[in-house]
């Protein structure tokens, strides 16, 4: 112990951004070594993120001024519990899912895009600067579009272009809002914007929020998501649904519960809540009608994002308890959804199709993939002991605490809808295999075991809700 560890610790916030960023460049220069680099940097990034989370949990939030340049000219980073928790979640999913990626050929920059997306996520979560967040969002958008386009097929390119157009429009709205905010308040720091109010700040909040809703596919601006998440390679779908869309949601939480207290926006917050209910219903309806497993899982993301937006009015009234609940829900969704997408990818690779009617016999032939899908479903529906259950439980308690019982009713109804949708999609897996297929179990590959391990992470979050909640609420709104 001593000064070396302390120096390292002091630079940890920037290291978490620089490790994947440097890795992205290294993978581009040395495409043959990309997979090995990805593994090494993944472990390094995960260790650094875990260390930061442990330190924040013990000693509280940690700030960093990049290059010693003080704001407003320089950029400040700020790692509170919420940011550290999301950074750690990102590192784990990026590393584990990245180890399964098999790009079509070396040198097609898949791992470069992958690591750029990771670095950009870290920038968005850790920046205390509305403009730096814009740069992070754009880098994230470009890297994610490249991941969606990576199969190189026409549907994938089409979905990628649509995603890019939505992402660019969203960032422009966000940028306009950030510029207005700077012009009226004279600062871009989220910490400095706490008490901002007045008409320009309200307009800025509106522009930024609509832009972010478009970027994170909240109903009715979700049109690009099912195509993009359904066409991407399975590991990319896993992180796109698991963490990438949460970056926009995270900023909405920050803007609506942590900053801009001067804007009287309770009615607008309830409107966001209503959009969340719309997302929940519409996503479930479309998942009910979908014919491919990956599309069902993608629409389930549209539906689950509804919960995360629905929590905005609760975050403003119930505070920390709602934050703990919604972050538990977000993390459980990340693990469950990543597990489901990886399992669907394994099914697609083995059977060359993920149409629901071709799932017959899955339980006997690919028991591990089927089990991963089942475990993911348990958490997405919100059954105990999963993190999905614990998160909903906390949110229901929070809504009763502020006498807003109708949100509790929506959370419970949402569970029933998710159950109906996912059980409908997975039911064929329990049927007997067609006579012409071999009915014995096939040996499970690494992708199936990884899918199961990640999905089990969602279950483990239930018992681990205590420490996770203490981390998330460290140094946050009272």
């Amino acid at each position: 112990m001593g000064t070396t560890a302390e120096t390292l610790l002091a630079h940890l916030p920037i290291a978490i951004i620089v490790i994947p960023l440097a890795g992205a460049v290294a993978c581009f220069v040395l495409p043959r070594a990309a997979r090995a680099l990805m593994a090494v940097l993944g472990i390094a990034g995960t260790v650094a993120s875990g260390w930061l989370a442990a330190d924040v949990l013990e000693h509280g939030a940690r700030g960093y001024v990049v290059g010693g340049w003080a704001p407003p000219l320089g950029i400040a980073l700020h790692a509170d519990g919420l940011a550290a928790a999301l950074v750690a979640l990102t590192a784990v999913l990026m590393t584990v899912c990245g180890s399964l990626a098999r790009p079509r050929r070396s040198g097609d920059a898949f791992f470069t895009s992958w690591l750029f997306a990771w670095a950009a996520l870290a920038v968005v979560f850790l920046s205390d600067d509305a403009f730096n967040v814009y740069v992070g969002l754009e880098l994230l958008g470009i890297a994610s579009v490249a991941l969606v386009a990576s199969p190189g097929t026409r549907p994938a390119l089409h979905a990628a272009l649509r995603y890019l157009a939505a992402g660019l429009t969203g960032s422009l709205l966000y940028l306009l809002g950030a510029a207005l905010l700077y012009a009226s308040e004279g600062t871009l720091s989220f910490a400095g914007l706490e008490d901002a109010g007045g008409a320009p700040a309200a307009a800025a909040l509106a522009f930024m929020t609509v832009g972010l809703l478009l970027k994170c596919a909240v109903f009715p601006l979700h049109g690009w998501l099912p195509g993009a998440h359904g066409c991407a390679p399975a590991p990319a779908s896993a992180v796109l649904s698991g963490v990438v869309v949460k970056s926009g949601i995270y900023l909405i939480w920050r803007l609506w519960s942590d900053t801009l207290f001067g804007v009287p926006a309770d009615a607008a917050a309830n409107l966001l809540g209503a959009l969340g209910v719309g997302a929940l219903l519409w996503g479930a309806a479309m998942a009910w009608r979908a014919e491919r497993l990956k599309i069902v899982i993608a629409y389930s993301t549209v539906s689950q994002l509804g919960y995360l937006v629905m929590a905005v009015p609760l975050l403003r009234t119930a505070g920390v308890e709602a934050l703990a609940g919604v972050m538990l829900l977000a993390a459980a969704h990340a693990f469950a959804k990543a597990g489901c997408f990886l399992a669907a990818g394994a099914v697609l690779a083995r059977r060359r199709s993920d149409r629901l009617e071709t799932l017959a016999g899955l339980v006997s032939q690919m028991p591990i993939a089927a089990f991963a899908l089942g475990v993911g479903t348990v958490s997405l529906v919100g059954l105990p002991p999963s993190g999905g259950f614990a998160g909903k439980w906390l949110l229901i308690q929070a809504s009763f605490a502020v006498h807003a019982w109708w949100w509790a009713a929506v959370f419970i109804a949402g569970s029933l809808l998710s159950a109906a949708v996912l059980i409908r999609a997975l039911a064929p897996a329990f049927e007997a295999a067609p006579a012409d297929c071999a009915s014995r179990a096939e040996r499970a590959g690494a992708s199936e075991w990884t899918a199961l391990a990640i999905a089990l992470g969602a279950l483990a979050l239930g018992p681990l809700a205590g420490p996770w909640t203490s981390l998330v609420t460290e140094g946050s709104i009272p």
């Binding site: 000219l73 403009f131 470009i142 579009v145 990628a160 272009l161 890019l164 157009a165 940028l175 700077y182």
Partner: protein, 102 residues
């Protein structure tokens, strides 16, 4: 307080945003959509230039740094969009050629 420069840039910026949004709403074709988003992006950046000069006197360098960064970001995103469109056109060409052969 407001100078003539502010009025000119702000009006031009808002007009460009409007033109871009109109174009985006009407465009069916990917290339037109990309151009429309670019026009709107320039509108946002022009509005930011206007906001930098709002107080009269010296313009705000922080806003100018933001505009420069925004230009770089928009150019990179446009390059990616054009690469995707080109790749799609290439695939379409291959399919057409296959169709003629068969």
């Amino acid at each position: 307080m407001t100078s003539a420069g502010f009025v000119i840039y702000a009006t031009a910026g808002v007009a460009l945003i409007g033109a871009g949004a109109f174009g985006l709403a009407r465009a069916r074709d990917a290339l037109r959509r990309i151009v429309a988003i670019n026009v709107a992006a320039l509108g946002v950046l022009t509005t930011m230039v206007a906001l930098a000069a709002r107080g009269g006197g010296e313009a705000d360098p922080v806003t100018h740094a933001m505009v420069l960064t925004g230009l770089v970001v928009s150019a990179s995103a446009t390059a990616l969009a054009l690469a995707l469109v080109r790749r799609m056109a290439h695939l379409r060409g291959e399919e057409d050629a296959d169709g003629h052969d068969g």
